[in-house]
Structures are given as structure tokens and as C-alpha cells.
Amino acid sequence: MMLLEMAAGGFGDRVAVGSRDGGLTFQQLFDRAGAAAGRFRAGGAEVVAMADVSSTALPISLFGAAWADLPFVPLNYRLTDSELSALAARIAPAIVVLDPEATGRLADLGDVVVLDRQALLDELAEALVPDGGWGTDWDMAGEGTAILLFTSGTTGEPKAAMLRHRHLVSYVLGSVEFMGADEDEAALVSVPPYHVAGMAALLSNVYAGRRIVQLPTFDAGSWVDLVRTEEVTSAMVVPTMLTRIVEHLDAELANGSSGNGALPTLRSLAYGGGKMPRPTIERALQLLPEVAFVNAYGLTETSSTVALLGPQEHRDALASDDEAVRARLGSAGRPLPAIEVSIRDEDGTEVALGLPGEIWVRGEQVSGEYRGQAPRLTAEGWFPTRDGGRLDEAGFLHVTGRIDDVIVKGGQNVSPGEIEAVLVEHPAVVDAAAIGLPDRQWGERIVAAVVLADADSTSGASVTAEELQELVRSELRSNRTPDHVEFVAALPYNDTGKLLRRVLRTELAHFGDGSTE
């Protein structure tokens, strides 16, 4: 809340959210948040949740909840009614803001007050500033919970990661310059609210004084149109979004409709939230030579970004003849100044520089807490991320994927990420995933699911399973070679671009031998 108060005080007349003409100014956002705080306090709710696409109601509710000292809980509106009800029941007594069309979704829950988003916005727009101004009586010490984010729940029941005000304020102060944005800058937010990057985007851009343009439901055509019509200067996307944007821009080029310059106003494009296929980022760099690309690596539990690969590092890697430097294009860059990174073995001992292990992070923005559970931080404040990775000599962090996804074949740990990186380098391959399936002899066998480029696409290349196996054998070691390569139409992703390996394992289960480990 302090961040918004400073924004309203420092540049209250700037537009905070929406179109340059007719959007909400920072002062209006502050006033609406003040009114929302009063509304939220009145009902006796202990959290304010929202199961809705992005709209101006999102920043208003986020800051209004903080003002009222209530945690804000962005819920995944794509869940089924019963899944959504189960989460709402866990956080009750709660206010849940819903799309006007969807207010019936949580009809039968006691202790849950449903607010219609549009009715709330109308009510708050009419609210008058009280005599003597709004009380600035929010949690200043920052111990209170600002945001609860349910993890995607790939293993069992979803956990609610807890981010306190002090974590988020540390993140913003450590990574964003107050009023660092020029008045003509605008950020396009297409990541959904229930992703930590969607929350971080609101906080960072408010503090920077950058106008926020929201895309409620992503598709590449709408994204490209909004960049052009709203003169967007920066954006953050997940890898699947960038893949589709690149395809869209290529299609425009092919039919000659892109005209002068693909996206003339865009200066900066950040991506993160999953593994970026190297062909996608290389093509994006070619298509958008004026754009500064930033790869951000972070987790929900670390208040978003902890490491960055900056624009110059992208260009240097792309231009280099040294394979070790080129490989940095696939890295997460270097830790933020306020973040320490350590690579540990299974016993928690730091490994020698360059060796792989588990990524541990430490810093004031790192929460590592889940609601109703003991904090996961070590006594020294380290958070074991369960992501595997290594640091190179120049301090670049290479993330190989979730440790729980590691394939164990014949007692050897095989990281799916390194196999996938080799496979997608083949011009005929647009996407690939390697998984382990049961094998009596080896414990697990390696199965690669590969998506080929369309026969009529520009590359025109084709490839056989044997050729891909040989490619991996020549670039890695023979124990990394997939035992089977299966060509599939598409890989299963969730809507924020995370590969659903469990779904893939189920779909391809018949390529295992049915043994149990």
C-alpha cells in the first residue's frame, strides 16, 4: 500500500491502468483502493479473493485488501466449480470477487460473500473521499500477509504460498526505480492474476509509474493488436505466449500484412515462468531486433524474479562463436543484487562451481512459507527451491528443471532439460519433452515426446526418430539417448505455460513396461 501511496503522491495525474485516455489515474486508483478497504472491512471476511480475469478491479482489490490488512488471494478462474469451491472453503470467511456472469459459481458456501466485479467497480467509483482524507492505517511493519497464491498442485492438494508485505516491498525496492518509467511508457500484462508474475507486474509498474494495459485472455493476435493500439513499450510473457507471438509475426510477414516494423513501440520484452525453447527466443531476437529481451527466473515463494538475463547478455550470447557463451541464451542470467544463490547437493552442502545441484536462494524477498505450515527456510535463511541447476564461471545460473522430474536410469541422474535442449535445436523440431517411464532393467527408460514443425512451414525439414536419437547421442552421452522417440501433435501445457509432465507420463504410459519402481 505504501508503494501506491507514493505513486499517488509522486505522479497522481499519470494514468495507472487502462487506455491513455479514460484510464484510471494513480490518484483514482488510490482513492478506489481506499473505498475498497472500507467495503472489505465491513463484512468480517478474513481474506479478499478474486476468481476473475484481469480488469481494473484487480489492482483496486489487491491494494484495497492490503489497506484493510487482509490477504489478497487471486484464484484460478479456470478451475471447475467444485475445485474453486474447495479452495474458497479453505480460505473462508472470505470475500470473493467474481465476473458478473459467474456469481453463481460459489452459491452454496457459507462464510463466503460473493461480490459482482462490475457492481463493486460502480460502487467504488461513486465513493467520496472522507473529510480529512483516507486514514493511512495499513500494516507498515510488513509482517502481515499481502498475497496468498495457491501453487498449481501438481503433487497432491494445492499449497497456499504466503507472501508478506515485507517480502514484496523488498522485491520492489530492490528491483524497481521509483518513477523510473517515462510518462509515455506502458506495460502490457497478459499473465493471469493467479500467477506470481501477474501480481509482481502490478506492484512493479505502479512503483515505476508505468501505465498498465491488461489483456484478460491471451491470444497472439489480440496481444499484437494491443501492443500497436496502446503503444505498449514493455511486456512480460510466458514461453508458450512468445512461441505463439513469434508464429503470429511470422505469418504476418509471410502474407505481407505487418507493414512498417513489427512492433514499433515495444522496447522491452521479459519472459519467464518455464523453459523457453531456444528456437523461439532466437527467432524472436531476429524478428524484433530493437527490443531488449529479459529472461526472468523466479518462483512464487521468492516473490517473483530472483535472477535475470539482460538484453545485452542475450545479444552477446546470440553473436558468440563460443558454445559456452551461446549456452547462456538458455540460462536465467545472474542473481539480482539483493539475492544470493547457492548450488547444493542432496545433503545441503555447497557443490564446487560449475557442478549441478539444487538451487538454493536467500534474500529479504524470499518467503518460503505456506499457509498453515512451518516455514521452509533453513536456519540461515536459505530456501531450497527443488529446482535443479548450476552456476557457470561467469556467475550465470543455468536452470535444468524440477528435481522431482529428474529421470533415474541405471542409477544415473538424467535431467530432462538437457535432452530437450538438444532435441529442439533440430530445425524440424518445434517442441520436445523427455520423461522417465518404468523399466525393469534400468529403473526408468527415457521417452522423448517430440512435436514436429508443420510440413508446410518455412523450415520444410523433417527428421526420423533414429536421427534424433543419434543427435542426442552425439551431443550428450549415450546414457542420455532416448530409448524411444514418439511424435505427438502437441505437448500438454497449463495456461501459464508450465509443461504438465504428469499428464504426459500418463499419456505415454504404454511405452513403459508397467513395472513399478
Binding site: 505504501m2 501511496e5 507514493m6 503522491g9 509522486g10 500494516d139 507498515m140 511493519a141 510488513g142 515485507r166 516491498v169 525496492l173 530492490g174 528491483s175 524497481v176 526505480e177 521509483f178 518513477m179 523510473g180 506495460a187 508474475a197 509482481a200 507486474a201 506492484l203 512493479s204 509498474n205 512503483y207 515505476a208 508505468r210 514493455s234 512480460m236 522491452s268 521479459a270 519467464g272 531488449a292 529479459v294 526472468a296 517473483s304 524474479t305 535475470l308 539482460g310 538484453p311 539480482l336 543484487p337
Partner: protein, 119 residues
């Protein structure tokens, strides 16, 4: 002798206004200009000054006149200031004409290396 002892009681004044606790989240306002700050990293009780004069709790009315010329370089909105040992850190939430100090020693502007926008 008794009178002597009474005269040695200047701590009386200090007891009326003990040095404030620099807890994270505490807000202070300048006694000599429009500067307001919030503590980001605390050091316990300390004499946080602005323009050479002890800062006041957030709701106080300034009455201290102009800043001391030796502490009048001004504060910048949204900048962080730290002491030499990097133990106290405050964030300027409203700018003014005074300079921040811990006792007689001025605080340094914390230079942040600009990061590319990642959100």
C-alpha cells in the same frame, strides 16, 4: 549539593523525548522541511535527523526553522538512504530541502544499479 544534583538532571529532557525506535515500517517527518521517510531496515533506538534536526514521529507538526546549511542538500523521492555501516536504511516517501543523518553523520544515497524491467 542538592541543588547541584538537580542541575545535573538535564536527562529529564531526554526522558520526555527518548530516541525513537528505528523499526522497519516506522515513519518519520522532518522538523525543518517537507521530507518524510519510512524505515526499511532498522537499528533499534537512534537519532535520525533531517536538516540537522531530529526527525519527528509521522503526525507531528514541524517547528524547527530552516535546515542546517551543512545538511541542506535535499532528499529525493523514492531514493533509499543508508548509514556508513549499512545498518540503517530509510526510504524517502516525500522529498524536502534537508539532508538525512544519523546523529551528526549524513546518510549516503543508496545507489541502485538499474535493472531491466522483468515484470
Amino acid at each position: 549539593m542538592v541543588g547541584d544534583a538537580l542541575e545535573r538532571w538535564p536527562d529529564d529532557h531526554a526522558q520526555e523525548s527518548p530516541m525513537p525506535d528505528m523499526k522497519p515500517g516506522s515513519r518519520f517527518t522532518s522538523n525543518v522541511c517537507t521530507t518524510e521517510v519510512i524505515v526499511v531496515r532498522g537499528v533499534g533506538e537512534a537519532d535520525l535527523r533531517c536538516g540537522g534536526s531530529s526527525m519527528l514521529s509521522a503526525d507531528s507538526i514541524p517547528d524547527g526553522g530552516p535546515p542546517d546549511p551543512d545538511a541542506a542538500a535535499g532528499t529525493l523521492m523514492g531514493k533509499r538512504y543508508v548509514d556508513a555501516d549499512d545498518t540503517l536504511e530509510v526510504l524517502c516517501t516525500k522529498p524536502g530541502d534537508g539532508s538525512l543523518g544519523l546523529g551528526d553523520v549524513l546518510l549516503d544515497l543508496k545507489e541502485a544499479k538499474p535493472l531491466p524491467a522483468s515484470d
